[in-house]
């Protein structure tokens, strides 16, 4: 890190952008809190809806009245994973793509069935049912055996679609390049090549040095995986809209891969810097734990940054949309009046998210490259 003073302006720019985001997020959240407390006071049903969605739905179905709108639940439903891919419609009219549920239980082995059997959480199947968070649990509440849920969920499916598109694009590109050896790229490849060159020249080679090309496939894969999934996440309808890179499991795997790459390739100078630093021996007590903490903290922060940025983006956009329905629930005309403002803000945020989609992919890749660079740097004192 010390060897790259010229990178500093980039970080400053990032900080300023993230502070803008923080302001926006806090603004939206405070708007929410005000409006939702307001809404909850107006009727008793709101509390039931918040606590027990299934019960609330049943109540509303029997009373033939629209379900109480709960922005918090709606947003959480959208940014978290699900066993089916909800397209449109509410309650019993909901149209969704059913995805395979794959469960592993030690005593019975693998169990596979379609998620349509759960009927959006209204029915149990084969002894399993969905709880209010959407995870698979035993129908029999007394059964404590753990269920390993390896289902192809919405996020898994979305991620596979994104990865498949990425493969199609890049492998097609490779084939075209091989066919047109030595010639300029054509069409869509003109868009991809600058990104590849950017990662190669300004990220990998700038941060790692002459050994950069060895890590280039990895850095390119990380960058394009994050970038493509971020962009797919911004598409509001199928096959987009899933919050893949805003899921902690996805960013965790990426961070672990970065951690392993950095530490398995690290040279003796890196380890010496951690365990035998150039400080007086009595300071080892402080320095070594800090260094070891830093070892884990770096990928941990990578994981959190990507997760938080992308999730926050989704929440903000959904929040602006929710404003229409929150005000609409109070008075239909009010919702209509708020909608132009809401749409304008959503468009603005989507544009910002487009930038963030690139920026976060870039930051993740850049930091990975810098960590690798610091781990394999040769010291000549």
């Amino acid at each position: 890190m010390m060897g790259h003073p010229k990178k500093m302006p980039d970080f400053i720019a990032l900080f300023s952008i993230s502070s803008v985001r923080k302001t926006l997020v806090s603004f939206v959240f405070s708007a929410f809190l005000i409006v939702s407390t307001f809404a909850n006071h107006s009727s008793g049903e709101g509390e039931i809806a918040a606590g027990h969605p299934k019960a609330a739905q049943e109540v509303s179905a029997s009373h033939d009245k629209p379900t109480k709108y709960d922005p918090g639940k709606m947003i959480m439903d959208h940014v978290t994973d699900a066993h089916d891919w909800h397209l449109f419609g509410e309650g019993h009219d909901a149209v969704s793509i059913s995805l395979p549920v794959i469960l592993y239980v030690k005593s019975t082995g693998f169990v596979t069935f379609s998620s349509s059997n759960f009927q959006h959480g209204h029915a149990a199947y084969d002894g399993f049912e969905l709880n209010e968070k959407g995870s698979v649990v035993w129908e029999d509440k007394l059964n404590t055996e753990s269920i390993y849920d390896l289902s192809i969920t919405k996020n898994v499916f979305a991620m596979m679609l994104a990865v498949l598109s990425l493969m199609l694009i890049t492998i097609g590109m490779a084939r075209s390049y091989r066919k047109r050896e030595g010639k300029a790229p054509k069409g869509f490849h003109n868009l991809i090549e600058p990104l590849i060159l950017f990662i190669r020249d300004d990220v990998a080679r700038a941060s790692i040095g002459h050994k950069a090309d060895k890590y280039l496939p990895m850095l390119l894969s990380i960058f394009f995986f994050i970038f493509v999934n971020n962009l797919f996440g911004l598409i509001p309808i199928f096959p987009g809209g899933a919050n893949v890179t805003g899921n902690i499991a996805v960013t965790m795997v990426l961070a672990v891969i970065v951690f392993l790459t950095v530490n398995l390739n690290a040279n003796k100078y890196y380890w010496k810097h951690i365990f035998v630093p150039d400080v007086p021996v009595w300071m080892y007590v402080i320095i070594i734990p800090i260094e070891i903490m830093g070892l884990v903290l770096k990928p941990f922060v990578l994981m959190l940054r990507l997760f938080a940025n992308i999730t926050a983006g989704h929440i903000i956009i959904l929040g602006f949309f929710s404003l229409i329905f929150i005000f609409g629930a109070m008075k239909p005309g009010l919702g209509l009046a708020v909608s132009p403002l809401s749409v304008a803000f959503t468009v603005f945020m989507s544009l910002l998210e487009l930038l963030v989609a690139f920026l976060q992919a870039y930051v993740f890749t850049l930091l990975t490259a810098i960590y690798i660079g610091s781990a394999i740097e040769e010291h000549h004192h």
Partner: protein, 162 residues
């Protein structure tokens, strides 16, 4: 809490998918693409340096041509000058030679004329003396006979002289 709790299924599938992605892209996409880009960059660099070399070679050749041309021009000018000088010299020489010759001829002619003239005069003098002697002789003879006859003879002789 649900948001920050990683689900085991997604962890598993993410690990599988990303490992596959890494492997497949490395083998079938990044390697050939990066290689193509490197080759293309090499080609462009080579072409550029070749163009640069050709250009400098051209400039060198052009300079050489120019100096050759300048040299040739100088040589031509020198040759022309020399030729002109030679012509002038030849013409001058010829002229002076001709003049001299003419003068010599003239002198010789004059000399000849002079000589001829003096010879002619001498001849005339000789003739006149002879004639005078003859006239004198005849006069002497006639005078001896008569005076008028003597007169006629002298006149006759004189008219014959003319």
């Amino acid at each position: 809490m649900q948001l920050v709790t990683p689900a085991i299924g997604l962890l598993f599938w993410m690990l599988v998918t990303f490992s596959l992605l890494l492997f497949i892209l490395k083998k079938f996409a990044w390697k050939p693409i990066l290689e193509s880009i490197r080759n293309r960059e090499q080609t462009i660099e080579d072409s550029l340096s070749l163009a640069e070399k050709t250009k400098s070679e051209m400039i060198r050749l052009q300079g050489e041509n120019e100096s050759l041309l300048a040299e040739a021009r100088k040589e031509r000018n020198a040759m022309l000058k020399e030729a002109r000088e030679m012509r002038d010299k030849i013409v001058g020489d010829a002229k002076s030679a001709a003049d001299e010759e003419a003068k010599k001829l003239m002198n010789r002619a004059q000399d000849e004329i002079e000589k001829q003239k003096s010879a002619a005069i001498a001849e005339i003098k000789r003739e006149v003396s002879i004639l005078s002697v003859q006239i004198a002789e005849k006069l002497m003879q006639q005078q001896l006979e008569n005076n008028s006859a003597q007169q006629g003879i002298i006149e006759n002789q004189l008219s014959q002289l003319n």
